[in-house]
Symmetry: C2
Subunit: 398 residues, 2 copies
């Protein structure tokens, strides 16, 4: 990584504080910046000059008068760009954002992560080139979420169950070399949790659990405003919490895991059974036109009122709720956000989860606990990844 020239990053604690403040709250008068950061005027002026020379901030014109001499607004440079990348099990999304992590251009396409790191990262680079063409600027950093356990420190996946060929592949170093900026690699669920916290339903909440139900099931834990990754980086791995020692087989090699009941693959498997047995007329009809069924088909059937599909969603929601209830008792979070593809099952799912959690957890822990669906949907991952990149650029290097 280069530390001179562009991309620049914060050099002092005051610069980092200032950058985060104008990212999170927008253009701010010098006077207010000084007050909020507790930095004397001369010192602040010097820091702003340094940041402006580095191309990170610029003047935003005069501030609204508060009486007395008018102050000038400071804002993030208009041409600052972050890349947010969201690699899912079956898709890749790339967004380019401005300095405040607002999406300027976004491209998503289907892409099987099992093809391996080289073809998938090739596609990521191509999509990035495309979105950067749509919203050109100076790239100050990139973040990427991967669907498996990640060594945050080393910037690479470690023994990821559904990503053959990716184990210890140097994702960060490859992309950093290609883009010429700092790249931060994290687990996809952590990144989605950050997205919802920065720009979605959990805006500015410091303590929350994000639960992703997609092909796999995972959790992201935000504690005191930061993602908690655990000692080996595997915190939030709730998909393999075991509900029944004699339950259905799971991709992880065990049996009875939550994911084996309610992940995307499990729903597809159960949908096929319901269609073939004729218990679900709606799914049987869909199966007549195609070789397999997916979780999306279950959502469609449930929305159309198909009884067997609704029951499937309810049972899954009950099991998911059972696990979430334990986590709520244990961690006492301020919010639970449910996202990922299967969250398209919508309010039927939500109602089941809520009923489980509110019934099973202690009143003190659930009294003010909202359990809600993700607000950002497909964009949670890319926004969170861009935010992670900005968090890196706007921190003082250790």
């Amino acid at each position: 990584m280069t530390t001179s020239g562009f991309p620049p990053s914060a050099e002092t604690r005051e610069q980092a504080g200032l950058l985060a403040l104008v990212r999170d709250e927008g253009p701010m008068a010098r006077v207010e910046l000084g007050e909020r950061l507790g930095v004397p005027r001369a010192r602040l002026a010097a820091e702003i000059t340094r940041l402006a020379e580095g191309g990170l901030v610029e003047s935003g014109g005069p501030a609204a008068s508060r009486g007395g001499r008018r102050s000038t607004l400071v804002r993030l440079a208009d041409d600052l760009r972050f890349l947010g990348v969201d690699v899912g099990a079956t898709s890749v999304g790339v967004a380019v954002t401005d300095g405040r992590c607002e999406v300027l251009a976004h491209a998503v396409e289907e892409c099987d992560v099992r093809r391996g790191p080289v073809p998938v990262l090739d596609r990521v680079e191509q999509l990035a080139a495309k979105v950067l063409q749509d919203a050109p600027g100076r790239l100050a950093g990139a973040g990427i979420g991967l669907p498996g356990p990640v060594s945050f420190r080393d910037g690479m996946p470690v023994a990821p169950p559904i990503m053959p060929g990716w184990d210890r592949f140097p994702v960060r170093d490859r992309l950093a070399g290609h883009w010429g900026c700092a790249v931060t690699v994290d687990n996809d669920v952590n990144v989605m949790a950050l997205g919802e916290r920065h720009a979605g339903v959990a805006k500015s909440l410091d303590d929350l659990i994000f639960v992703k139900v997609g092909t796999g099931i995972g959790g992201g834990i935000v504690v005191g405003g930061r993602v908690y990754r655990g000692v080996a980086g595997t915190a939030g791995d709730i998909g393999h919490i075991k509900l029944d020692d004699y339950g259905p087989a799971c991709a992880c090699g065990e049996a009875g895991c939550l994911e084996a009941y309610f992940g995307g693959a499990a729903l597809a498997r159960d949908a096929l059974t319901l269609a073939r047995s004729g218990r679900s007329p709606y799914l049987a009809e869909l199966l007549a036109d195609r070789p397999v069924l997916t979780a999306r088909d279950v959502a469609e059937a449930a929305q159309a009122g198909d009884f067997a599909a609704v029951t499937l969603v309810r049972e899954g929601g009950r099991r998911l709720g059972q696990v979430i209830a334990s986590l709520v008792s244990f961690l006492n979070p301020g919010m639970v956000v449910i996202g990922g593809g299967v969250s398209r099952l919508g309010h039927t799912l939500l109602a089941e989860v809520r009923s489980s959690v509110y019934r099973r957890s202690l009143p003190l822990a659930t009294g003010n606990l909202p359990i809600v669906l993700s607000e950002l949907g497909d964009q949670a991952g890319v926004i969170g990844a861009a935010w992670l990149a900005s968090d890196h650029a706007f921190s003082v290097p250790a």
Copy 2:
């Protein structure tokens, strides 16, 4: 609370850092203190003078030579005292420690928490007077752990299930008025977790789960070196995680909670059944001499090899392990410590828990995960409470 005179506390970030350093590592040379804290010599000298004037530190004589001029050792004042109080469901323990939280005198006696706050706190004050007589000094603060949910900020229990009459009783204010020093109130399990982290088996670990199995079952979560209390202060409440909707009735009003299977009361209930039915000859013999049985009797019978008692411990350990496995998957801690009275069940219990967790959680999360018994036993609570008091005294007031 008084802020002038004694008890004093840290006034600046540097003073707080210095106090914590000599508490955790013992007497330290001025030269080393300056290096460790990154404080220039003149500034450090001024801060040490202030602390010495306040009676918090004193000179510990010349330091071992590192070549050049000899440096002087700085240590916590010899007559500094903290009180650590551990209120359990059926006992009260009070210890007086030195500034480094080492126990100088400790008194424990049976005391039913259901007698209510006034008689119980009267006993606490009497025991404190006794231990302070055994190890006199200047009281710089006190900490107290209570067996129920606590509002850490308000210093009082909130809707505690097994503490009738204690709801919102101003524990902190009463004791602070009596002792004339700052008092910090927390949940008993959090306090035990801090004790193990400061002086026990989890020494200096930043991320761990402490599980107390006593009359009730609770968890303490240490994240980044600090207790995590959740948004309403109920984090760690694992005793009421539900294992089976149709399980045995629980004191909380629900059914099938972990505590209803394996808390002290549940074990006493099951022991009685085993004794009366004759399935446990050992317990039947004990019951001939007394009106009821306790969890302690189960431990004794299991240690004597009574088959029914061993089976009871194994089944309980399996259920406890099932819950701990979920928490390990979720939080990926660096250690799990099991304490409280029922941990006297010892290695039979530990073996069951370990087997459940190692079998059920992902290899990455359990690879380097020690699951161990509390090292401090009865003293974990009082040491943790004293540490909490020192943490308060050695922090810069907000």
